[in-house]
Amino acid sequence: MKRNMKSLVELKNIWFRYEGQEDYILKDINLEIRDRDILLLLGRSGSGKTTIARIITGLIPHFYRGELKGNVIINGRSIVNKPIYEIAEYVGLIRQNPENQILMTNVEREIAFSLEFLDIPREDMRKRVHETANKLGISNLLSRDIDSLSGGELQKVAIASILVRKPSIIILDEPSSYLSPSSVNRLRQYIMMLNSEGIAFLIIDHRIDYWLDITTRIAVIYKGKKIFDNNLTEFLKFIEKFDVGLNIPLHLRLAIDVNKCCGKRVLPITQDTKKVLQILQKGGNNDRV
C-alpha cells in the first residue's frame, strides 16, 4: 500500500489554557495527522490529550472557554474561525465519556442519528447502521433502550455512532476503557478495515498494548509539551530510556528492567514475546545490541 504523505490535520504552535488557569496546558504543540495514519497519542492523565482532541474538533474554542494560540489546519484550510459543523464533516470524535455524546434513547436511532444530515436514502442508512453494529458485535442491542446498556455496551454504541458516518479522520479518546479484550479485538479489526479504505485515526489510550501493533506513529505529551513523535521501533527505544509515567505493558517493562539490572542489553524490547522466550531458552542474548 502506497502511503501518501498528505497532511490531513496540522496543529501549529498551539498554546492553550482553560479559563481561570495560570499555566498553559499545552505549550507549543506541533502535531500532524497524515493520510492513512493511525496515530497513537500517549501521556499521563491530565497531560492534555483530550484537550488536543477538543482543539482538532473545534470544541475548543466553541464550547470550552480559554485562551488558544496557534493554528489548526484541516485538509489544508485553517479551521480557527470555522463553525463546528463544517469541521464535523471531516473529523469524528468519540469522547472519553460516552455518556457525553449520546443524544437519543434507543440504540438504533442513536447510531442512525449521525447519518441524518448526510442526505442518503433511508434504506442505505439502515444498511450502514446494521453493518457497523455487526462489525462491533452489537447487532443484538439495536432495539434496546440506551438506559439499559452495560458500561461496555454503551461505549460500543458511542463508537458505532461515529464510525458509521466514516468521516475522513476519526479520533478515539480512550476507546478501550470499558471494553473487554474481545470487544477491543473487534474494534481493532474494524479500524484496520476502515483505515485501508482511507480513513485516518488518532487514538488516545492508556492500554497501549492494544494498539502498538497497528499504529503508524506514536506521539507522547508530557507536561504540556510533545516530547516524542516517531514510529514503534523508536518508541520502544524511547521507553527504555525515559520513564514518563506511561502504562507500559508488563512484557516490555520486564525486558526493560532486566536490562537495567544487568547494565546491558540482555533482552530485546519487543512486542514479539516469542523472540524473548527463545533468547531466554538459550540463556541470554549473546550478541551486543
Binding site: 476503557s177 471494553l179 473487554s180 505493558p249 512484557h251
Partner: protein, 275 residues
C-alpha cells in the same frame, strides 16, 4: 462476609435472566476480582452487594443480614460501591466539598472532618484540585476522586467497578498501594476488571463471569493456567504469560508478583555466563 445463595436476577419481567443461579462467598479481609466479557453480568452482580438491586430469586446476605431486610442507606455505609461511570456521582461545586459531603453523610464533623478531608486529598494527590469543579477534571483525575471518596470513611467492603479506567501507569501503581493499605486494615476489596495485566500485583481470588453464570473461581495464578477459559470468556492472556510458563517449567512459581518474576528471571540469566 457477603454470601450469594442461589441468586437469580432479571431487570425486566419479560426478559431472560441476567444472573443465573449465583452462589458465592466473599470472605472478609481478602481481595476478589470479578472478570468477564461486556454484558456478562459483573455490574449487575456487584449492585446486589450493597442492596441497590435485590435478587428476583434467592438471597444475598451481608454480615448475616439479608439485603432485603436492611435499608440501602445503612448497607451502603458498610459496602462502598464506586460506579463504572464515576461522573454520575459528582454534584458538588468543588472537589473538597464533594469529599466533605460524603464524610458528613457518614457522621464526620468538626476537626475530624477537616483532618480526614486533608488526608484524603493528600493520599490521592488531589490537593491541587481542591477548589476545582469535579466535572472540569480530566477523566483519570475524576476516577481518582471517585475512589478517594469511596474509601474516605473506611467502609468494611470496597467494591470498585473497573477502577483502572482512565488511569495512567503511575496512577495504577498508586491504586495498587492504596488497595494494599486497605487490605492491611483487614477490609475487603472487590474489583471488577477486564485487565488481567493490572491484577498481577494484587493476585486476587478471581470470579469469572460468562453470560450470567460463574464459569470459574479460583486463584489468579490458576486462571492463567486456563487459557481456553480466559479466551472463551472474552478476555485475553497478558503477553507476559508466555514467559511465565517458561519460568515455571523447571522452577516453582507460586507467587506472580512482578518483582518476583523479575528476580526469577534475573536469577535464571545469572546462571549463564552472559550476565
Amino acid at each position: 462476609m457477603i454470601e450469594f445463595r442461589n441468586v437469580w436476577f432479571k431487570y425486566d419481567e419479560t426478559e431472560e435472566y441476567i444472573l443465573k443461579n449465583i452462589n458465592l462467598v466473599i470472605e472478609k479481609g481478602r481481595i476478589y476480582s470479578i472478570l468477564g466479557d461486556n454484558g456478562s453480568g459483573k455490574t449487575t452482580l456487584i449492585r446486589h452487594m450493597n442492596g441497590l438491586l435485590k435478587p428476583t430469586k434467592g438471597d444475598v446476605i451481608v454480615d448475616e443480614v439479608n439485603t432485603r431486610d436492611i435499608p440501602i442507606s445503612i448497607l451502603s455505609k458498610k459496602v462502598a460501591l464506586v460506579f463504572q461511570y464515576p461522573e454520575r456521582m459528582f454534584f458538588s461545586p468543588t472537589v473538597e466539598e464533594e469529599i466533605k459531603y460524603t464524610l458528613i453523610n457518614f457522621g464526620f464533623e468538626g476537626k475530624e472532618l477537616d483532618e480526614r478531608t486533608d488526608y484524603i486529598l493528600k493520599e490521592f494527590r488531589l490537593e491541587d484540585f481542591r477548589d476545582r469543579a469535579p466535572f472540569s477534571l480530566s477523566g483519570g483525575e475524576q476516577r481518582r476522586l471517585s475512589i478517594a471518596i469511596a474509601v474516605s470513611w473506611d467502609p468494611d467492603y470496597i467494591v470498585l467497578d473497573e477502577p483502572t479506567t482512565g488511569l495512567d501507569g503511575e496512577a495504577r501503581k498508586d491504586l495498587t498501594s492504596t488497595i494494599e493499605k486497605i487490605l492491611n486494615r483487614r477490609r475487603t476489596v472487590i474489583i471488577v476488571s477486564h485487565d488481567l495485566e493490572y491484577l498481577f500485583e494484587l493476585s486476587p481470588h478471581v470470579i469469572l463471569m460468562n453470560n450470567g453464570q460463574i464459569m470459574f473461581q479460583g486463584k489468579f495464578g490458576e486462571l492463567l493456567e486456563n487459557e481456553d477459559i480466559v479466551i472463551k470468556c472474552g478476555l485475553s492472556m497478558p503477553r507476559i504469560s508466555l514467559l511465565l510458563h517458561f519460568l515455571k517449567r523447571d522452577g516453582n512459581l507460586n507467587n506472580l508478583k512482578y518483582n518476583e518474576i523479575l528476580n526469577l528471571l534475573l536469577d535464571k540469566l545469572r546462571c549463564t555466563n552472559y550476565v
